[in-house]
């Protein structure tokens, strides 16, 4: 399950019956890509949430027949996003990025 941030609500009147009346939220993931998830919890923009993907996302909804592949699992009480590790960073990136830059 990934950790994403809620950007805002997606208004989508023309939708298939399978999506029923679920509220759709726009989420931003670690790399900045935008995703759309169904929301059984009731989130506000800016919340940090964890999402359930795949067929488990359908089970996260009240009605398991909802046709979604990504559902919001819950709002994280407190989350401190660490800066996005640069792609060429070593596997263990516990040490702060500045210190590693001088070493490189």
């Amino acid at each position: 399950m990934e950790i994403n941030q809620v950007v805002g609500t997606l208004y989508c009147t023309e939708r298939i019956e399978g999506l029923r009346h679920c509220s759709l939220q726009i989420l931003k993931d670690r790399k900045g890509n935008l995703l759309v998830a169904t929301d059984p919890v009731g989130v506000r923009p800016g919340n940090w949430v964890f999402t359930v993907s795949g067929s488990a996302g359908r089970l996260a909804m009240d009605d398991p027949k909802t046709m979604t592949d990504l559902a919001i699992g819950g709002i994280i009480d407190f989350w401190q996003p660490k800066q996005v590790a640069k792609p060429d960073s070593s596997s263990g990136d516990e040490q702060p990025t500045e210190q590693r830059d001088q070493a490189a």
């Binding site: 950790i3 964890f50 488990a56 996302g57 398991p64 596997s91 263990g92």
Partner: protein, 84 residues
């Protein structure tokens, strides 16, 4: 299945009822931070095995458990930097 390191517990009071009382842990897989349901009782710093997709649901409790990543084992000892 993936080998991940447990970073810290994930506290989420406002969450769907399907999760019940199971603990959620923040695990690190390479540079990605993911959230996994803890079925074995791991502590921060442990190296664990995580299973995904439909097996994650059964491992977490029942077929209807809404999880797509579950911790299923704690590795006795693991050296992440050793070349295999």
């Amino acid at each position: 299945m993936k080998i991940c390191k447990v970073l810290k517990p994930l506290v989420s009071t406002n969450r769907i009822a399907g999760f019940g009382h199971k603990h959620l842990q923040v695990v690190q897989d390479g540079s990605a931070q993911l959230v996994a349901v803890d079925a074995v009782g791991s502590v921060p710093g442990d190296w664990v095995i995580c299973v995904g997709s439909s097996a994650a649901r059964e491992a977490a409790g029942s077929k209807e458990y809404p999880s797509d990543l579950t911790i299923v084992g704690i590795i006795d000892d693991w050296d992440p930097d050793a070349e295999r």
